[in-house]
C-alpha cells in the first residue's frame, strides 16, 4: 500500500484574484474636537477549520505514480494532457495517470480519492477554468 495521503497540489487555473493584493490604505485624519464613540464589529463568524496533517513531500519523482485529476471544467482535459506529456518527457521513470473526477469542481469523488491514496504518490488537481 502506498501513502494513504498522497501529495496533492491544486492547480489554480486562471484565478488571477487568488493572489491579488486587497484593499487600499487611507490616511486617517481624525478631527481633534470629536469625541470618541464605540461601534460594533460587523463581521460574521468563519467556520471552524481543522488543519490536517499534510503528506510529506516526495524526495524524488523517479518511479513514483502521479495522478492528474480533471475536475471537468472546459479545457481541463486538454491541459492535463499537455502537462502529463511534459512529465512523460522530463520524468520518463514517473508513472502518470490521468483521471476524471465525478465530483466536479467542488464535490468529492470518494472512489477516486481512495484509489489515489492506494495507488498514487501524488496528485495534481485541476480546479478550472
Amino acid at each position: 500500500m502506498k501513502l494513504r495521503g498522497a501529495v496533492i497540489v491544486f492547480l489554480c487555473l486562471g484565478l488571477t484574484s487568488c493572489l491579488a493584493a486587497t484593499g487600499s490604505q487611507v490616511n486617517a485624519e481624525p478631527a481633534v474636537s470629536e469625541g470618541k464613540i464605540t461601534v460594533f464589529n460587523p463581521m460574521g463568524t468563519p467556520p471552524p477549520i481543522q488543519a490536517k496533517q499534510m503528506a510529506p513531500r516526495l524526495d524524488t519523482l523517479e518511479g513514483k505514480t502521479i495522478y492528474f485529476v480533471n475536475t471537468g471544467y472546459i479545457g481541463t482535459d486538454r491541459l492535463m494532457d499537455v502537462m502529463s506529456d511534459w512529465f512523460k518527457a522530463n520524468y520518463p521513470k514517473t508513472n502518470v495517470v490521468i483521471k476524471r473526477s465525478s465530483g466536479g469542481m467542488t464535490g468529492v469523488d470518494k472512489a477516486l480519492w481512495e484509489e489515489i491514496g492506494e495507488k498514487g504518490d501524488a496528485a495534481i488537481i485541476g480546479l478550472g477554468h
Binding site: 484565478l15 481624525p30 490536517k52 499534510m54 495534481i124
Partner: protein, 396 residues
C-alpha cells in the same frame, strides 16, 4: 488542509488549443513569481513541508474585536481600511442605533440568521446572527421598519456579491402591503436608487454579504473578470401590483414552488420577497428587435429577445412597465403563464450553444415582473433566475 499548495498560472484554460496551452502554460511562467510553471509544480511536489504547513489542529481565526472605539472620522477610516464597507461612508453602528434596529424584530439578536458562502460552494461558509444583520443594516443607512425585509433576505443565505469571474449580481422582488408600509418605490425609477427604502435595503444586503458572509473581497472571495456595477446596490424591485394586469410575482412563484420546493400558496397582499441571481437587467432598447412604431408587437419582441439570449445559466427575466404589460395583455395574454407558453414555445428547451458550457443551461427559464411608471413605453430585460421566496412577516 488550508495550506495546500496551489500552483498558479495565467488563465483562462477553456477555449485554448493544446498548442496554446502548451506554449502559454506548460512552457510559460507563473505571472506572479515569474518562474517556470512546471518547475514550480515539481517543487510543490518535492520541496519539504515548512513548519507552518505541518501545523495541525483548529486554525485560529481572527475577525477582530467585538467593538472598536475612536472618533467618527477614525472609525470611518478603520472600516474602510478593514474592507467592512462598500467603499462609501457608512452610518457608524453604535449600540444605540443597533438596538433601535433590533426593536423592529421579535427575533433574538443572537439567533443565527443564516449562513453564506461566496457562491457555488466556493470558499468558506460563514454564519451570521440577527445582530450582525442589524449592524450591517445600520451601516447601510436602513430604517428599522425595513429590517424585517433585510432579515428575510439574509435568512436565505444568498450572497449579493457572487465570487464568480462572470460578474453576477443579485436582486429581490418584493410583493405585498409592506411596499407602501415602508415606502418602497414602484413608480418612476423603480429599479434604480431613487427611494430610501429600495436603496438602503439593497445596500444592506451587500454589506451583510461583505461582512456577515465574508464575500466580495478581491484577492480571496471575489474574482469578477470585469465586475458588475449592479453589485454597488443590489436590484430591489417592488412590484407595481396595482397597475399590473397580472397576478403578483409572489403569487405566481408560490404556485410553482420556491426553488424546487413545495408550493407556498402566497396570497395577494402577503409580504413576500423573492431573491434573484444573474447577470442583471438592461433596457430592452439595447436589442435591435425592440421596435418603435405601429408594429410594436411586444409579445413577439419579448420572444425575439428571449430567442437571442443564451440558454446558459439564468434564462430571461423581464421587467415590464405597466403600459407594456397592458399591451401584452391586450394582445391576448391575460396571464403570465400564457405569455410564457408563447415565448418559450411551450417550454421547449433551447439548443445548447456550440462550444458553450452546456452543463449550465437552464432551458426555458422565463420570468416577468411589472414595475415602474407609465410615462413611456420603456422596459427592461436581462438574465436573472429566481431562487427562494421568503415570507417577510416571519421576520417581524
Amino acid at each position: 488542509m488550508p495550506g495546500i499548495r496551489v500552483q498558479y498560472f495565467r488563465g483562462p484554460v477553456w477555449a485554448k488549443t493544446r498548442e496554446q496551452l502548451k506554449k502559454q502554460i506548460v512552457e510559460g511562467n507563473n505571472p506572479i513569481t515569474g518562474r517556470p510553471v512546471m518547475q514550480e509544480l515539481v517543487e510543490n511536489l518535492t520541496k519539504p513541508l515548512t513548519a507552518e504547513e505541518m501545523k495541525t489542529g483548529e486554525l485560529q481565526r481572527d475577525t477582530g474585536p467585538a467593538t472598536y472605539t475612536g472618533t467618527a472620522a477614525e472609525l470611518q477610516e478603520l472600516f474602510l481600511e478593514k474592507r467592512y464597507t462598500d467603499f462609501l461612508p457608512i452610518i457608524l453602528p453604535t449600540e444605540e442605533r443597533v438596538n433601535e434596529m433590533l426593536k423592529a424584530t421579535s427575533h433574538d439578536p443572537d439567533e443565527q440568521l443564516g449562513s453564506m458562502n461566496p457562491g457555488s460552494e466556493a470558499g468558506e461558509t460563514w454564519t451570521y446572527t440577527v445582530k450582525t444583520a442589524a449592524i450591517n443594516a445600520v451601516m447601510a443607512g436602513a430604517k428599522p421598519e425595513y429590517f424585517p425585509v433585510i432579515l428575510a433576505i439574509g435568512s436565505a443565505g444568498m450572497t449579493a456579491v457572487n465570487v464568480s469571474d462572470n460578474g453576477f449580481t443579485a436582486g429581490a422582488v418584493i410583493n405585498g402591503n409592506i411596499r407602501d408600509e415602508i415606502g418602497l418605490n414602484y413608480d418612476v425609477g423603480a429599479v434604480g436608487p431613487y427611494a430610501h427604502a429600495n436603496t438602503t435595503i439593497g445596500r444592506a444586503w451587500g454589506l451583510l454579504s461583505i461582512n456577515g458572509g465574508n464575500c466580495g473581497k478581491v484577492g480571496t472571495t471575489y474574482m469578477g473578470t470585469v465586475g458588475n456595477p449592479m453589485n454597488a446596490i443590489s436590484i430591489i424591485i417592488a412590484e407595481n401590483e396595482e397597475n399590473s394586469p397580472w397576478e403578483p410575482f409572489s403569487v405566481r412563484r408560490g404556485r410553482v414552488g420556491s426553488f424546487g420546493g413545495p408550493p407556498a400558496n402566497y396570497e395577494k397582499g402577503e409580504n413576500v420577497v423573492t431573491l434573484l441571481n444573474g447577470w442583471g437587467i438592461l433596457s430592452a432598447a439595447n436589442w435591435k428587435v425592440n421596435r418603435w412604431g405601429p408594429d410594436m408587437d411586444y409579445p413577439q419582441i419579448i420572444k425575439d429577445i428571449y430567442d437571442q439570449q443564451s440558454p446558459g445559466l439564468f434564462g430571461t427575466f423581464v421587467v415590464l412597465s405597466p403600459p407594456i404589460a397592458d399591451f401584452v395583455r391586450d394582445a391576448g395574454y391575460d396571464t403570465v403563464e400564457k405569455l410564457t407558453q408563447f415565448v418559450t414555445d411551450a417550454g421547449a428547451a433551447k439548443p445548447t450553444p456550440k462550444g458553450g458550457p452546456g452543463f449550465f443551461r437552464m432551458g426555458n427559464n422565463f420570468h416577468v415582473v411589472v414595475t415602474g411608471a407609465s410615462n413611456n413605453n420603456y422596459w427592461m430585460i436581462g438574465g436573472m433566475m429566481p431562487s427562494r421566496s421568503i415570507r417577510i412577516d416571519d421576520w417581524r
